[in-house]
Subunit: 512 residues, 2 copies
């Protein structure tokens, strides 16, 4: 099913016309570059060999980036802390393939399905890159016939979003999910997920936050009470979801003009969605004439009551807010929904074109909810496994912490080297190797210059620049006495140490 | 550029015919299933919505698999040990996107380029999944203008291999690479890579191994000395690479019949490639009349001499073998090449269709080499950054260790829970929550039943089945006294502990 040369030539012609048109219309550089890249890619299809020198922009794909050692060090530190919290709650790790059969993802993401990356049909199965970690979990549970699991999964997901439109977002990014699957009593696992989010945010120490909580059954009941027709529940829910970014008047307009809702119904919704509070708000709403006539609203409110009580038993009350404007975009939620928002938002400064993070855009750092019907969509007999979970928005957390480090002028080390083995004069490289070898075999992190005869000053400067705590320095005069000098890099203090004792002495000093 | 309905219907017709033909020809079930899956995928394209219940095989894509908590525990343990070795040698982590511009991968993998996964052209750039971690590293170095780096990278790579043909292999698998980039004196970084492979294999304790070493310049010189035309060096090198799986006679036949080499040249190669040994073999070959007339052969041998000397200084001599039959498949190597092979090969037993690992297939567990020209292929001015590195074959190592665990009847825990909080009778779930909350806040890994009123026996059985070391047991009678029972699960011994002291007492016991 590969294209013929003629087809490609035709595509090149069309694409060339498009580029010329964009240039004539003085479109943005980004837009033009993108289409030029596509044009070059099409041209590359014609001659597939390495014969001609490659001419293409040296870049990562749009919306993706490399992580430098500096960034990886920060990231690994953050992920280690998050994993520690997940493990504290009995989490077990799983992993799934980066792509799934396309059908697995079909019909799970509503309007966002257009953002799914498809693989080329190279014969065989039709595949797509995963869009989140929740649908693969549901597929895994159904396929493995597992009915109880507390699992965490940290991996990259893929969305063909337009990074220019939503600044600070990427097309490839980490998700960091904890989910509890199984048939249990109401709200006990749901409350633990709130606790987990709170612990993660506390351990990362990135500032004040509030965990907003709502319930899909209450939302549906509220829509019913306001006179929204049942077939408009999901689309009106999507509109409510935009309240974190848009003012009520815009959302109201969308409901009425785009989604065809009666103005009176929209106004009734408007009264509810401005409400937020604690357990007293639940009582107030349970007494609300309109809501108490709708069974699903009452059910949602009773669940909220239970959840808030459990959260209180875990000391979470000061950190949570029952918020009727919280809706969450995804179709598959069936019960409680969460979103954790940073209160004081640090200003994010990044390099390059997408430099300025829009104010407020960094707000949400975790989200999730209950999805009781997703696993059943995969089970051949429709057997359900109820699930609830949270996803930590690690990319935003990384951005916040990177900005903090930059602001504080912190330069983190990118490796853990403990000792540098330096030679004082020529001809000692094999001796360096044998000293290094002995240190490595004793589990000490050590390196040296890969030059035969490096200058001593250069070697010592390297230690200082790279914040290596110790240097071993030796020349023939030391070797004949069976000793080396052990130098503390920061203080430049040197002591003579017998070569046979070197490993132990370094270990002793590192412990202190 | 998306297909029209008519195009899809045409494709379905063609695919349907193919399936019928395969069935008539009684092709293997696997082959037929694959084409049926493709047919269903095409049919799914017609109706894209979630309206009809989904009908598709519940599976991961061909050549991929999920990792269960059991497998993840083993994997994480292995990776942690490998990372510790990489860090001991000053390694810094980087990460790159899972896909690259297609042009980045073009012309790097020789005959294997057909195995690259392409993404669908959804407008914008033409992308492919990474095939290894080496080409992305070279692209990263050129793009970031970095000329010195010791980096490790652990990530999945993608190859559209046929898993049925090469059993035990997958289309998605982990690579685990350490590379040293920079302009240094000969063989110092190259020798450290050998040391790293040796340390990894030693720390994983998976049995006896030998690290085979050869040199591309020596191979080229040897080909020249044997009368191979220069334009056939790479293709003859690919043939030599098959010697680890095929007997010499088959390789000889390929050289002569498929690749058009003179029989006399092939026979001369045959004499060299049976040689292996240590530093004495280098001296022998340096005295070889045919080789010493070829400058690149002499250069390669001198390099080998230096490498073997450095390896000896690090105590590696017993573990390495200078082996003239080692060729490595990839085009980009320019100097030393390595391959580490397990000596005694444990028998691998896996579940499912690909149950029996072919004898000898598990042999190679690491490989690598020097590639001095790859970065220059990406630099706009052709600036080179010489590199050398090794890749640890972690998938094979996982298989070997999984088989060992199965053979030894070892059941590894899949989580780290330290304490289970159990209630002795009804109505204690909120008290459980507050005890758990206090334990979590003290950093103790704890869980409980998500049932309101679980039976005590069920709770205690859960602890024993899941090898949780401690259980906290309490009822109203304990609570009124301000105590709980702390139970050692293995011995079933219980002690009364004041609730206020519980965290400290558990921590004390865990330390012992």
């Amino acid at each position: 099913m590969s294209e013929t040369r003629e087809q490609i030539l035709e595509e090149i012609k069309i694409q060339g016309d498009l580029v010329r048109k964009l240039k004539a219309a003085k479109e943005t550089k980004e837009r033009i570059d993108e289409e030029v890249a596509h044009l070059l890619a099409l041209k590359a299809k014609l001659g597939d060999g390495p014969a001609t020198p490659q001419k293409f922009t040296l870049k990562t794909p749009k919306g993706t980036r490399d992580y430098s050692p500096q960034q990886m060090m920060l990231r690994q530190g953050v992920l280690d802390k998050i994993i520690a919290v997940f493990k504290k709650h009995g989490g077990e790790a799983i992993d799934t393939p980066v792509f799934e059969l396309k059908e697995v993802l079909t019909g799970k993401y509503g309007e966002d399905s257009k953002l799914i990356y498809d693989l080329k049909d190279q014969g065989g199965e039709i595949l797509s890159l995963r869009y989140d970690l929740t649908v693969p979990l549901a597929r895994y549970l159904a396929m493995s016939k597992i009915s109880t699991l507390k699992r965490y999964h940290i991996a990259k997901v893929y969305r063909r979003d337009n990074p220019a439109m939503t600044r600070g977002r990427y097309r490839e990014f980490y998700q960091c999910d904890f989910d509890i699957a199984g048939t249990f009593d109401p709200m006990l696992p749901d409350a633990e997920c709130v606790k987990i989010v709170s612990e993660v945010l506390d351990t990362l120490d990135i500032g004040e936050y509030v965990i907003k909580i709502n319930h899909r059954q209450l939302l549906d009941g509220m829509f019913e009470a306001c006179g929204v027709p049942a077939d408009k529940f999901r689309t009106i829910c999507s509109a409510v979801d935009k309240l974190d970014k848009s003012p009520w008047n815009d959302v109201r307009k969308e409901m009425i003009e785009e989604k065809g809702l009666d103005a009176s119904a929209a106004d009734k919704i408007g009264e509810y969605v401005r409400l937020n509070g604690g357990i007293e708000l639940v009582s107030q709403l349970l007494a609300d004439e309109k809501l108490k006539a709708v069974p699903s609203a009452v059910k949602g409110l009773e669940n909220m009551q239970l959840l808030l009580k459990y959260c209180d038993a875990m000391g979470l009350s000061p950190k949570i807010s029952f918020d009727l404007s919280l809706a969450r975009g995804l179709d598959y939620y069936t019960g409680v929904i969460y979103e954790c928002v940073l209160k004081a938002e640090p200003k994010i400064v990044q390099n390059g074109a997408d430099a300025v993070e829009e104010q407020g855009a960094v707000g949400s750092v975790a989200g999730g909810g209950r999805y009781d019907n997703l696993v059943g969509m995969f089970d051949p007999k429709g057997k359900q496994v109820p699930c609830v979970g949270v996803s930590i928005g690690v990319e935003r957390i990384f951005s916040v912490l990177e900005a903090k480090n930059v602001a504080a002028g912190i330069k983190t080390r990118t490796n853990d080297v403990e000792v540098y083995v330096a030679s004082a004069h020529k001809g000692l490289h094999e001796k360096r190797l044998s000293i290094l070898n002995s240190l490595w075999d004793q589990g000490i992190k050590a390196e040296h210059s890969y030059k035969l005869n490096p200058k001593l000053l250069v070697q010592l400067q390297y230690c200082e620049e790279n914040q290596i705590p110790f240097a071993v320095v030796f020349g023939d005069s030391e070797l004949t006495k069976g000793i080396v000098k052990l130098r503390e890099v920061k203080t430049r203090k040197e002591d003579e140490v017998p070569l046979t004792e070197l490993g132990n002495e370094i270990k002793k000093r590192l412990r202190n």
